[in-house]
C-alpha cells in the first residue's frame, strides 16, 4: 500500500500528514506516509484543492483535513 499527502506545505497539509500517520499507526500498517510538495507532482493527480490524500495512486479526498478515523475508513475500504 502506498499513501501520499499532496500539499505545498501549509499548516493544513501538515495536519493531514500527521492524521494519516496516526491512522496508519493505529491500524498497525507498515507503510510510510509520503509527502508530495512539488506543485508539478501534485498536478499530476489533477487535484485543485490541497491537501489531498492519495492511496495507491488514487485520489481519495481533496481540500480538507481528514480526521484519523476518516483516514482509517478509507484505508480499510
Amino acid at each position: 500500500m502506498k499513501i501520499q499527502v499532496l500539499g505545498t506545505g501549509c499548516a493544513k497539509c501538515k495536519q493531514l500528514t500527521a492524521n494519516a500517520e496516526r491512522a496508519v499507526a493505529e491500524l498497525g500498517l507498515a507503510v510510510a506516509v509520503e509527502k508530495v510538495e512539488d506543485i508539478r507532482e501534485i498536478m499530476k493527480f489533477s487535484v485543485m484543492s490541497t491537501p489531498a490524500l492519495v492511496v495507491d495512486g488514487k485520489v481519495r479526498s481533496v481540500g480538507k483535513v481528514l480526521a484519523p478515523e476518516d483516514v482509517k475508513k478509507l484505508l480499510r475500504a
Binding site: I39, K44, S46, K58
Partner: protein, 369 residues
C-alpha cells in the same frame, strides 16, 4: 517520486495556518438523538433570543449594574463594547454557518465545470460570484489556477475568480455590517465583485497568456477519479458547524480586540481628527492607502478594527475601504505563490489592474458620499 524540500518561498498563509484545526482526532462521531431539522430550529430560536436580549442587557450592565453615567466617555465606551462584542460574535456565527452550508454545495471541481464552457464577459461575472461561495485557501491558488486553465477557462475569467475569492470575504462583510450598517457592507460586496469582474476582463483583453509559465499547459489532462461526497441535509448542517468551529474559533480574539479599539474610539477620540489628511478633500489619501495596504497582509478580522479606527477619526469611507481592499485583496504571500505559474510581467499586470480598480473605488466613494 521525489519530494524536494518544502519550497522555501511558500510561507504558510493565515487562512491555512490554523493549528487548532483537527486537533481532536479522537472525537467520536456525533450521535443525533433528534432530527437535524429540529436541532437547527432550536439553534436558530436560541440565536434570535440571544440577539434580542443583548442590547437591553448591555445597557443595564453599563448604566445599571456598573453605575456608569450615560453620555460619559467611559460609559459610552463600556456600553459600546458590551453590546457590540456579543452582537458581532453572534452575527459571525450565523453568517459563517450560512456560508459553510452554502459552500458545501460548491467545490473547486464543480465551479470549474460551471466556468469551463463560458465566454469571457459572462464568465467574468460568474467567476467573481463563484469566488465568493467556493471554498478557497491561498495555498490552493496554484492547483486551482492550473485546473481552471487546463480545461479551457479563459485566463481573465480565472483571474476574476482569484481576485474575488480573497477580496470578498464573509468575515469582513459581517464585521462591516455589524459595525457600520448594511449600506457599508453592501458597498463593500458590490464594489469587491465589480473590481474582480472588471479587472479580470481587462486582464483577459490584454492577451497575457504568453506570460503564463509554459509547463502549466504541458501538465496532465487526466480527470480526477475520486468519489464525490454525498452530504445530505445533516451533512451540510455539519459542514456549517465545522466552519463555525474553524473560523469563529480562530478569529474571535481579533474581533474582541477590534471592538475594544472601536469602543475606545467611540468613547474618547474627538471626531474629525484624521479628516484633514484622510478626508474627502485629500485626493492623494486614496493612493497612499493603497500603497500602504498592498504589502501589508492581515486577515479580514484583523483589518476591520483599523478601518474602524480610521473612520472613527474622520477618514473618508472611500479611503478606508480602499485601504481594506488593498490589504485583504492583494497580498504578498498569494503573489509569491502565484509566481510559480505566472511570469513577473503577468504578476505586475495583475497587481497593477487590481490596484487601479481599488483606487477608482476609493475615489468614487469619496466623491459620491
Amino acid at each position: 517520486m521525489s519530494t524536494p524540500a518544502a519550497d522555501p518561498d511558500v510561507k504558510p498563509v493565515p487562512c491555512c495556518s490554523n493549528p487548532g484545526y483537527g486537533v481532536k482526532p479522537g472525537a467520536p462521531p456525533r450521535s443525533t438523538p433528534l432530527p437535524t431539522a429540529v436541532l437547527l430550529g432550536l439553534g436558530l430560536a436560541a440565536w434570535t433570543a440571544a440577539y434580542t436580549v443583548i442590547q437591553p442587557l448591555a445597557e443595564w450592565l453599563s448604566y445599571g449594574a456598573l453605575g456608569l453615567a450615560r453620555g460619559s466617555h467611559l460609559g459610552e465606551a463600556v456600553a459600546f463594547f458590551l453590546y457590540d462584542t456579543p452582537k458581532v460574535l453572534l452575527l459571525l456565527v450565523l453568517i459563517v454557518f450560512g456560508v459553510g452550508v452554502v459552500r458545501s454545495f460548491f467545490t473547486a471541481e464543480r465551479t470549474r465545470a460551471i466556468l469551463a464552457g463560458k465566454r469571457e464577459s459572462v464568465g467574468n461575472v460568474l467567476a467573481a460570484l463563484l469566488g465568493v461561495v467556493t471554498p478557497f485557501c491561498s495555498c490552493s491558488a496554484v492547483p486551482l489556477f492550473i485546473g481552471f486553465v487546463e480545461v479551457g477557462v479563459p485566463l481573465g475569467v480565472t483571474l476574476s475568480f482569484l481576485i474575488s475569492a480573497p477580496m470578498v470575504n464573509e468575515i469582513a462583510l459581517v464585521l462591516l455590517f455589524g459595525l457600520f450598517g448594511w449600506k457599508v457592507a453592501a458597498l463593500y460586496l458590490v464594489t469587491g465583485l465589480t473590481i474582480a469582474i472588471v479587472a479580470g476582463f481587462t486582464l483577459g483583453r490584454m492577451k497575457l497568456e504568453r506570460f503564463v509559465e509554459a509547463w502549466v499547459y504541458e501538465s496532465m489532462k487526466a480527470e480526477a477519479t475520486f468519489e464525490r461526497e454525498r452530504l445530505g441535509f445533516t451533512g451540510r448542517v455539519r459542514k456549517g458547524l465545522e466552519a463555525v468551529r474553524e473560523i469563529v474559533g480562530k478569529v474571535w480574539p481579533w474581533v474582541i480586540a477590534g471592538i475594544a479599539v472601536g469602543a475606545g474610539i467611540h468613547g474618547y477620540v474627538p471626531e474629525g481628527l484624521l479628516a484633514s489628511f484622510m478626508g474627502k478633500s485629500a485626493w492623494w489619501s486614496v493612493p497612499a492607502a493603497v500603497l500602504i495596504g498592498v504589502p501589508m497582509y492581515s486577515n479580514a478580522a484583523g483589518i476591520i478594527p483599523i478601518v474602524e479606527a480610521l473612520l472613527g477619526k474622520g477618514a473618508a469611507l472611500g479611503t478606508a475601504l480602499a485601504f481594506m481592499m488593498a490589504v485583504i485583496g492583494l497580498s504578498l504571500p498569494e503573489i509569491i505563490i502565484l509566481r510559480k505559474v505566472l511570469r513577473p510581467q503577468l504578476i505586475a499586470a495583475f497587481v497593477g489592474v487590481v490596484a487601479t480598480g481599488i483606487l477608482l473605488v476609493g475615489w468614487l466613494f469619496n466623491a459620491a458620499i
